[in-house]
Symmetry: D2
Subunit: 342 residues, 4 copies
Amino acid sequence: MNFASDGVAYCAPEIMARIVADNPVTTAVFDADEITAALKERIEAMFESEVDIFTVATGSASNSLALAAMTQPYGAILSHVEAHIQTDECGAPEMITGGAKLIGLPGEHGKIDAATLEEALKHSRFGFTHSVQPQALSLSQITEAGTVYTPDEMADLCRIAKSYGLKVHVDGARFANALAALVCSPAELSWKAGVDILSLGATKNGAIAAEVIIVFDRSLSERLRYMRKRSGHMIAKNRLLALQLDTYLTDDLWLRNARHANDMGRALESVLLRAPDIRLVHPRQANELFLVMPDDVLERMRKGGIKMYENWRTYPLRHHRMATSFATTPQDIDRVAAILGV
Amino acid sequence: MNFASDGVAYCAPEIMARIVADNPVTTAVFDADEITAALKERIEAMFESEVDIFTVATGSASNSLALAAMTQPYGAILSHVEAHIQTDECGAPEMITGGAKLIGLPGEHGKIDAATLEEALKHSRFGFTHSVQPQALSLSQITEAGTVYTPDEMADLCRIAKSYGLKVHVDGARFANALAALVCSPAELSWKAGVDILSLGATKNGAIAAEVIIVFDRSLSERLRYMRKRSGHMIAKNRLLALQLDTYLTDDLWLRNARHANDMGRALESVLLRAPDIRLVHPRQANELFLVMPDDVLERMRKGGIKMYENWRTYPLRHHRMATSFATTPQDIDRVAAILGV
Amino acid sequence: MNFASDGVAYCAPEIMARIVADNPVTTAVFDADEITAALKERIEAMFESEVDIFTVATGSASNSLALAAMTQPYGAILSHVEAHIQTDECGAPEMITGGAKLIGLPGEHGKIDAATLEEALKHSRFGFTHSVQPQALSLSQITEAGTVYTPDEMADLCRIAKSYGLKVHVDGARFANALAALVCSPAELSWKAGVDILSLGATKNGAIAAEVIIVFDRSLSERLRYMRKRSGHMIAKNRLLALQLDTYLTDDLWLRNARHANDMGRALESVLLRAPDIRLVHPRQANELFLVMPDDVLERMRKGGIKMYENWRTYPLRHHRMATSFATTPQDIDRVAAILGV
Amino acid sequence: MNFASDGVAYCAPEIMARIVADNPVTTAVFDADEITAALKERIEAMFESEVDIFTVATGSASNSLALAAMTQPYGAILSHVEAHIQTDECGAPEMITGGAKLIGLPGEHGKIDAATLEEALKHSRFGFTHSVQPQALSLSQITEAGTVYTPDEMADLCRIAKSYGLKVHVDGARFANALAALVCSPAELSWKAGVDILSLGATKNGAIAAEVIIVFDRSLSERLRYMRKRSGHMIAKNRLLALQLDTYLTDDLWLRNARHANDMGRALESVLLRAPDIRLVHPRQANELFLVMPDDVLERMRKGGIKMYENWRTYPLRHHRMATSFATTPQDIDRVAAILGV
């Protein structure tokens, strides 16, 4: 049982079925295939907006390219200090933007609150030649601590950012998990709240490798178009990406998978909290759990074949991560319970 | 019938079968899966050398990352003036290297000859602070004009490059087509000739999206490891790339596909040359043909459903490209003959 | 006698006098001093236009920053293949632009002609995602071969560039020498001809270290402002640069110096052409001469204490450069005549 | 009386005298002049070490180039969170390094302490592909809060940095002020403590515009040589920089100027602290004071013609900066006393 990441779940059956079924002898190259075109239409319908889309194979590419479309090299990107773009992409946003600066904001449980953002922007030196210029806010949905921004929280943060002239990006690697945890539409959680570009992930929730940059502010698309190619992220047979995403967004697969993952997360939480020595570092709101546990409990889990992301953070508080996915089963959870004896 | 590119052929049956068969519930993330490990062993056996490998999803990434591993930002990369890295990657090598300069060398039929390289290097201003410093030679195999370097030609060029301290990269997007056109081993066409990094392509010859950077000079691997991540090219579920490549290199699939493509190229050539008004711009040596033809012949082909890459170059001589692939059939060729009435 | 470069002449007496005279105890930092303000007004009056100005200490900075203001990282910059930005700045434009591509156009005697530019742009693949996008034309005035564009030639080239959406930059390291060789106003040789940014040099014609980027298309200034700082080119005590430039542009000093340099160039030409074995590679139009001469003549010059830039180019034709400056004297020319025995 | 910055003092008389005296008709270009050569020898003698030197005109260039010589694009640079490179160079280090990440460490009064550095490095994920790799430590001497590292503190920090494989850079914009505040040799405060590159400033302490990068670990020089040119920071008539620096280092001018500035700082401190409502935010150890004062006191100073750097920081504590320089006089201090009525 591998709970180290939701990314370990390989492929949703619906998506594999589509890969198998969609096997033409030849295909139009790059974005010219009919599935990419259909995907765009589907996204426009679901998000109730005209958009431009750019598919890529990795989340790092999706985030970095979106940010490069919004930010000059002398720009600054505000995000939570623990955001994935800050900590786990080996400086990809810095590279793709041409050296923009990532500024980390503090915030409990991975979330930026409105007052912190306002304070940071109020004290930013806009127009001061010697200082990088804040040009983008990047929000993670769900956050790197597994928590969820509500549409109102998103709208608040976007409103503040925009009042200072910033564009807003959402790292939506787990956007479906947020949607599944809330009662709102995709539009309400994106452009209606003020989001300019959404990096919508599928790879952690059913696809093997497929992400899509959804551009609501289409004035940003020109740069993106060339920067995607120039960074090596334009796939020759793009239909492979498009069909994964198209299936992902068909018949609510993304939400069904995410709901299942969240449900399994809730079930896992209830099992873990029955163990006297385990506690959560952040409230579980979707499919990720961040845990402090004694080393002997950790060892027992290991011996029982339970993998987690050990030492997710070692500083200032050492803790571990467990994540559930569309592929997690109630039996997997039962197994944890059995090992813990709860 | 789409002869515009060998890249239009979608997926070799053996590779699709493997994708279908290899469908685990969970997988180790990034490079830690067992298929990536097996792929490395297979490549070491086939190339008779210890290597490091880095899989990526696009040729642009493969070429640019390889070059970035060899070149400082103040470096210069020598290649044929018509090389793909020069003309069709929207400046990807410039971006990933941090702004190195690509210097285009002339040469008949897409090939650099030894005298031209020697002359260019002899007149390069090594050690002169005001000039970019030649640090890499990039050879395309097969070339952008569809021609093939022999192992001896490769060895000659590598020897010259190395005598000036350059590293050698091969853009092997169609490396298998070269191997199939020659009688030599993979090693003879790479490290034994002096190649430091080979960007081995599979996407144009059977895979949907899979390329592998094979590093013979492993002192170059450290930079590559971080730069791949940092440019967003490290795939979370790398097994999807690895299994395509592993299948590609199993049971000679790469060579069987390439031989077929080359054979179809030869057959297409013989049909086309029977038409009085069509002539080749470059000698066909593998699976690509570059053609001058009257517009009425072009129009007849169009009407007959034959697609080619029209206006491949418009300057100084307007011409078109036709390419054959593993998926081209004798019937496709016959259809061309029928349309041309030859 | 050092004829290797006009850059060897250290400082015009008027400028040194101003440096000595302008020695306040304290000064406003960066651009806030009164001399920088006066310089802007002076330039606006002389160029008959509102402008933004950005002083820098080197020509490489001046050219590269100007180009970065006009060009996206995926852009292409067209210039003569022998332009200084192409050959002698160690890739500075590539670095400062974030990796834009410099495309070299051929042309006799260092000049691009209208037909060549038109042809190059006509065959550029605008809007094609896989190709860098031409966004700037950079003209050198005088050219790297010592020749001069007339205002009409400039206007023609600008018109063509602009019809394709390009901005126009002039590398005016020796702009005064061009002005002195022509009968026209600074405005006619810059914005009236269609120039968007002029990198106006003073360092080769009287200043010790002072260049100014004159921005006619002020929509380009925002990027420039931050990029100058970010590249380390904003000088803390900018008055040192401003006072050199202000003096340079006062009482026609720039033109007087340039006329003298050009006159000395003409005198040197007439001496050299009296020697039977020396010939010019390019017509002399200002203060630079490019020469082929037998090695024994070269050796005689060396022994006589005449320095030139030997082996300016070794390929395809080996030749040398001699340049005159504001500091060259008729006696220096006589000395050359004496050595040559002409 | 302008106490906003020590950078407002224009030029030490000794340096102006040298500029006036050193006025040759011609000079060798770039680094080939005899003063640059003499400067190197002088520095080697004073620092008791073979070194390479690279002069530049700005501190931003000096810091950024030094860091670029030590750091890969995927590297991380550790410095105090308030360091000048972090806050006031508009992202210059990010640009020149090709996008390395600056990591800010906390620390009282602008200083990093050994435990904080050790902790940060211990929790850095060396060898983890997804994380930038710490490769450089940058220490400011004096710090951005006006405090001074002792040689022992420097040596401790260097030892820790080096035990993790990092190189050490010192931003010595005010290195002379530190030397003057301590009892040690230049060598003890640089390479003997473990420093690999020192960015030695002169511009704030007597020169108009002159900084020198002193490379103790000469394996780092090759990159620096080309990167300086490529970033536009190689000055054509380098003697102007070299003669400022050479004079600066002659007859203890740098130390005399710095001692005077520090003495004036001490005198200013004693005046200010006599005012009941003014307090220091950081201990004054050299020539900079960071002050909290009531707005009416600030207003009184303004009206009395005393300029300071108002609102140096507004967050979390609003405070102002006053700096003294080689040009500050006892009368200037008396004037402050008179205005404050103390």
